[in-house]
Assembly symmetry: C2
Homo-oligomer: 203 residues x 2
């Protein structure tokens, strides 16, 4: 290799970024040093500052440098609806969609006994406490539509039902079906079966 | 937006990387903080160290933290052949191909009067000095096969010819034609014309 040791280190480190292979990392390294050294310096300091200060929201576990995140702090949001997602990226996706105005709880993963991920790893205790303390009326299970995501949703439902609250909590799961713009021809059979099973009366 | 200020800063900064848009930057930021904080810290320090120490080789202008880069220092390489390229990425590409064993000179761009890029910006003086000092016998012009790349190659040829050296320097331009694996049906007309004009006797 003809790259100098420091350049090689940088190229190696850039490959820690998701989706970045050797070739892309080379291009990134040269671009940072050659074209945008100011932005490169800012990137380095932003990484360091975020690593040092960003942690999890004490309520919903979303990433934040504050004790309580911006969403949990926002009293205009509907405090009675809680949406449970797997990752902070999912919070972002739902926020971008713009139709949900309740609060979130981030699991940081899904139950996966084979990988040694149990209820304590995805913060079930904290979730139950939050439901008890905050007067939540509806819990929307928005874990992924994968086998583990379904199992996790199922487990959380069981736990919430066992709480035996005075007021019954409404539990719901996000709808499964053909995505907007989807063409039946290209949709997998399982999705299609779910779309038929979950059909709604035509209004 | 529901990201905290520090996270927003980091996402913004990651977009300085070539080919990284908002969505990818979000995924990268969360991955760095959540999944690979150790690698994130190393990335930050590698960027800072490279920014501080990596500069240009005093001979060929390639990126290096040393006075003279590894290629220029390697006396086993053919000192009589000099390959002129536009960027350090091009050095990398030619090195990966593995067939060239001479030295390089990196222009960091191409002549582009409209953008105010003149001969002094691409190190022509330094190039001429290098050719005079190092006993170069052949110069291979490996600038891109674009209009500006061709113009730059042409200009450099003119300058080298004007040196009026005792020993004539062989000047060559990389071959233009159909790429390996290329199908004539999908190759543009200009390339095809060049491939016909540059045809070689079948041995």
């Amino acid at each position: 290799m003809s790259f100098s040791p420091l350049l090689s280190n940088l190229i190696e480190s850039l490959q820690a970024l998701p989706g970045v292979g050797r070739k892309t990392a080379q291009r990134m390294a040269l671009s940072l040093l050659e074209k945008t050294p100011d932005k490169a310096a800012r990137l380095a300091s932003d990484i360091e500052e975020a690593l040092e200060k960003v942690g999890r929201c004490a309520q919903c576990r979303n990433l934040t440098e504050a004790e309580i995140c911006l969403i949990c702090e926002d009293r205009r949001r509907d405090q009675s609806v809680l949406c449970i997602v797997e990752t902070p990226m999912d919070v972002m996706a739902v926020e971008s969609a713009g139709s949900f105005r309740g609060k979130y709880f981030v699991l940081y993963g899904k139950l996966s006994p084979l990988d040694g991920v149990g209820p304590e790893d995805i913060g079930i205790d904290q979730l139950l406490k939050m439901v008890l303390a905050e007067g939540v009326e509806e819990v929307i299970l928005a874990t992924n539509l994968t086998v583990e995501g379904e199992a996790t949703a199922h487990y959380i439902c069981e736990q919430l039902r066992r709480l035996n609250l005075d007021h019954p909590i409404k539990l719901s799961r996000i709808a499964q079906g053909v995505p907007t713009g989807g063409e039946l021809e290209y949709v997998d059979g399982n999705t299609l079966s779910q779309a038929f099973a979950g059909r709604k009366a035509y209004s």
